[in-house]
């Protein structure tokens, strides 16, 4: 238990730092803003109580908000994704499959994991980018930003499973 908690605490801190110090500094066009910190919510155990997931999501979003001076935007998007997580998992899983408690890449089929990440990231980024521009004018401009940034985030999240989270 202690091992699991310390693992998640370590993951929380390192994802925040990686997000604000590396991915927030990626500046080659306004269309690519990857937000990989969502990986923390994605990888929480499936048996984790829902209130805990929601509160952790809020805290995570709030910390990212404080670092990027966008108070409330990231917390709203992350809480939304966290609330939708059980529904997403139910939709993409077969009833017959024996599910592992840890929703990582190596505990599940690749296609399942990619689907899971894809839906979660799209939900999160859609809420995030529309809240950030705060208007539906230029709807398609924002839409392109959602799609391109999501693609970028998904690729990074899936690759990170091969590189960093190999043994877990």
């Amino acid at each position: 238990m202690i091992r699991i908690i310390s693992k998640y605490v370590f993951m929380f801190i390192s994802l925040v730092l990686v997000q604000v110090l590396i991915f927030n500094q990626v500046q080659f066009s306004g269309f690519f803003n990857p937000y990989v910190y969502l990986l923390f919510i994605i990888l929480l155990p499936l048996s984790a109580p829902r209130y805990l997931v929601l509160i952790l999501a809020f805290l995570l979003g709030l910390i990212i908000d404080v670092f990027s001076n966008s108070l409330g935007v990231h917390s709203a998007a992350t809480v939304f994704a966290a609330y939708a997580r059980p529904l997403v998992i139910r939709v993409i899983s077969n009833r017959e499959d024996d599910k592992s408690d840890y929703p990582g890449l190596h505990q599940n089929k690749l296609i399942w994991f990619v689907n899971y990440v894809l839906i979660m990231v799209l939900l999160h980024h859609t809420v995030l980018f529309y809240l950030e521009v705060y208007t539906f004018t230029n709807f398609f401009n924002t839409f392109y930003r959602v799609i391109l940034s999501s693609l970028f985030s998904i690729i990074i999240i899936v690759l990170s499973q091969f590189l960093v989270f190999k043994d877990s």
Binding site: Q27, F67, Y83
Partner: protein
Amino acid sequence: MRSLLRYLLKNYAFLLFLSLEVFSFILIFNFNSYQKAQYLNSSNQVTGTVYNTYNAVERYFSLGSVNRKLAGENARLKSLISDLPFIRVTPYSVVMKAEVTDSVYRFNSARVINNSVDKQNNYITLNKGRKHGIKPDQGIVNSEGIVGVITNVSESYSLGFSVLNKRWGASAKLKKSGTFGPLSWDGKDSRFANLTGIPFHVELEVGDTVVTSSYSSVFPEAVMIGIIHSFEKPAGENYYNISVKLSVNFRALSYVDVVENLKKDEIKALESKKADDPDNQ
């Protein structure tokens, strides 16, 4: 009553979700009045320290270009100083008396420790704060032109709107004709901003210089903003849509100067007196 309680207990996740979202939205709405959120921004001690530590490593990679810029600016200032007999140098800043506008500005050098250009509202975090004399509403400039304005200050860090922020616009004027109008950013491209409020009868040319106007106490008059990149006359309106190519490269900010207007309190006091006077309504 009991069934209501049971219902609430069963749906606690939804209620928690709802209250967290409502709380987030309250934060979003309140952050517009940015002065209230004093601690929840990147100028607070913790985030400031994280950015400052990281920047201490990162800045070595830009030393070359920083050196070139500083050398260029040094040369420019040396040639200026020979023309100005009334300049006075203090240990850490230069007090410049400009006879034309009769206001006194003090420049305070600071390092940019965090900066974004691709968000809808971009902010700059600086490594100097209250103890170095930085206060809200002071302008930020560098040798290329205007950069932004300070909004929040902590003990040793400060946060400011950059020009690339939809919540703030500078007061600009055309250098050639003196016509002024507000400068704003539309959130699309970090190289361009929009100038509005210039009526059709003013003659424009691509390449005309846009500078700060004398109507704000944030910046000295005639600090470079950029040049006109393109303009159009929208049908049914009286003002041009002007796209201004900003002279500052926001992707490569390293050192900036914070401008303090030493006469600002006096100007503000005078202006508020005018507003109170019933004869002037």
